[in-house]
Symmetry: C2
Subunit: 379 residues, 2 copies
């Protein structure tokens, strides 16, 4: 075994759809002489491809065909053992599993993988925003002797430097007072168009904005899956738990049993709650345009706009998501556009003016970039 092999970072990739495929492309775009990553495991929900480190995936054109030709079934329970076994064979080797799915089943395995010494890098929010016992198990496994790391930059704001900025603030002893932002690209697009800062901008009805957003692919197939606010609640849960876990002193934040504990305002009109069909939902939404018009008018009278924001108020001990009003001169009104995310960190050091990060918070390329940024931390 040559000394250079000892710096190998073995990569197992679970989920090879849009984000996973983009990640493979980005990993293989790194100059071969300097590329520490060896992709030795690929898996979809159905099949898997295992390779030795010597025969790792290197062909950015042909990898998909090779994967499709594999006859191995995907067995999640085998992945950890396979990678840990390879690590044991090569002194100095490390391994990481990347989870590009949004699966609960995959998320539940993180504690086991981390305890085996594997790191986990993922844009999947489930493990960090779901049941508290999974989150606690991740922290415990990572803190244990020889435990791997959890790397989740892409769970909030995709490739934007949000989670790592927060981790560094907390790690260096800064005190977070409040994090607030527009965390959903869908909600951003909807309200940037429905309630624009400029007074001469068009004033479309709410249902029309949602319809167009859906047609452009900015919403889930069923827009209620965005309008329920759960995506924002999950992101806030991740931020709040990170603050609690990494703060140098106790905070007033509530212990969230899951993202359902976040005070979340749903924008689904009550009579449309539970409709199974996205088409039917969109068809009936115009019946509620008057309510949204009224909210917009009330805000406009005060020189304000509507934005769907999430807040982790550490000082007040509150975590909440909902519709809020902001003056037309506020960055959430003026600076925001498209389907951008914007996140403000108010901390002891960034005070009175916050640290602000803004930009696209979704999309395969920027999500994969956030994951690869995490992988580069293992080098």
């Amino acid at each position: 075994m040559s000394p250079s092999q000892n710096k190998d970072i073995l990569v197992g990739i679970v989920g090879v759809g849009l984000v996973g495929g983009e990640l493979v492309k980005q990993i293989l775009s790194i100059n071969k002489a300097k590329n520490p990553f060896k992709i030795v495991l690929l898996s979809s929900s159905r099949k898997a491809l295992y390779t030795s480190p010597e025969n790792a995936i290197t062909d950015s054109e042909g990898w998909k065909a090779k994967f499709d030709a594999s006859a191995e079934k995907a067995e999640l329970s085998k992945f950890g053992g396979y990678l840990a076994g390879l690590v044991a064979q090569g002194k100095g080797r490390k391994a990481v599993i990347v989870d590009n799915t949004s699966s609960e089943d995959v998320a539940r395995l993180y504690p086991e993988w981390i305890a085996q010494g594997l790191s986990v890098a993922t844009p999947n929010k489930k493990a960090f925003s779901g049941e508290k016992k999974t989150w606690d198990a991740i922290l415990a496994a990572s803190d244990s002797e020889g435990g791997g790391r959890w790397l989740n930059e892409s769970t909030v704001g995709a490739g934007l430097p949000v989670i790592n900025t927060l981790k560094e603030m907390l790690g260096s002893g800064d005190k977070v007072k409040k994090i607030e932002g527009v965390f959903s690209g869908t909600m951003s697009y909807i309200f940037n168009n429905f309630s624009a800062a400029s007074s001469d901008a068009p004033k479309p009805v709410f249902s029309e904005v949602v319809k167009v957003a859906r047609e452009k692919g900015y919403t889930e197939p069923h827009p209620a899956d965005d309008l329920n606010g759960f995506d924002v609640a999950r992101k806030l849960t991740i931020l709040a738990r990170t603050v609690s876990a990494l703060s140098h002193s106790q905070t007033k934040l509530p212990e969230l049993e899951s993202f359902l504990d976040v005070q979340t305002q749903s924008l689904i009109p009550a009579p449309l709650e539970g409709l199974a069909s996205g088409d039917e939902f969109v068809g009936k939404l115009p019946g509620f345009d008057e309510e949204f018009n009224k909210l917009r008018e009330e805000a406009a009278k005060e020189g304000q706009v509507l934005r769907f924001v999430g807040v982790v108020d550490v000082e007040a001990g509150v975590v909440k998501a909902g519709l809020e009003k902001y003056p037309v001169t506020h960055p959430f009104a003026t600076s925001l556009g498209g389907s951008d995310n914007i996140i403000m960190f108010h901390t002891e050091r960034y005070s009175p003016r916050p640290l602000i990060v803004q930009g696209a918070g979704a999309g395969a390329a920027v999500t994969a970039m956030g994951v690869l940024g995490d992988l580069l931390k293992l080098v």
Copy 2:
């Protein structure tokens, strides 16, 4: 030697003034059980304190008195050998030198230190923005077998996630088209006040704004040291060189022999060029208020404001700093305030809307935080 000692990261700190003192405080604030950092060397320009890893500095109250009591002279040339020697004694140990000075003499030693396997973390812009041969030597040393790393997040925007965001973009194969921003807190303060976006904001004369900025400590003792634009030119040099060094393909950016190659517009009125006294400079500045008034009026007629911006235009192959006009609705006009920095990354992936980072770009606490963030990457 116990196994836990093998994960030690030995830290030598050169410069124990405002930033250095804050860094020591932040390092020692980390929970002792989890703190991988052992401060084994402290140095000012005059004296030094060496300790063994077993007797590393741990007393956040008493360290300064202990340092002041040291009789050892500061000999820069000894630091590398001292730390490399300690690394050699403990398997798995790493070491890093933090340079909190703005000294050219310290900067010139980076290549030697990095070649010895030590990493360098620093807010000092000199090495990365000065003579090209020093920069080339840093890259070569770091690329060599066993070379250490160069970590310079705090050289641009202090603790804001600028350099690492850029490194991750480039490392994952994104193509940077243009970076533009307000990179000087001093220039930000001056023009946010001189040329405010709001039409009913006060319209002070230029010399008055500079005078107040100086009294508040926002400028150097001699304001010409800010108004010459060199601080911005140095930051642009660092960004441009980073883009050139880490892009996956050749760029059109010029090879900068030093920051003096950046097209930089000086705001020092020609007749005041070379005045030795800051007081005299400020006293004579009112004679040039009319010129600045005229610029502001011209911009206002077009609905624009003045901002001193830096641009690394990768597509055009241009690196320049100077006074530019921006519409009052532009983030440089509306979102900016105080002495904030704002940086926009236009890339292939962040297109058409850029990734934006904004916040305080100077100050001991946020600068030290940026350095500690870099140190945490070594863990």
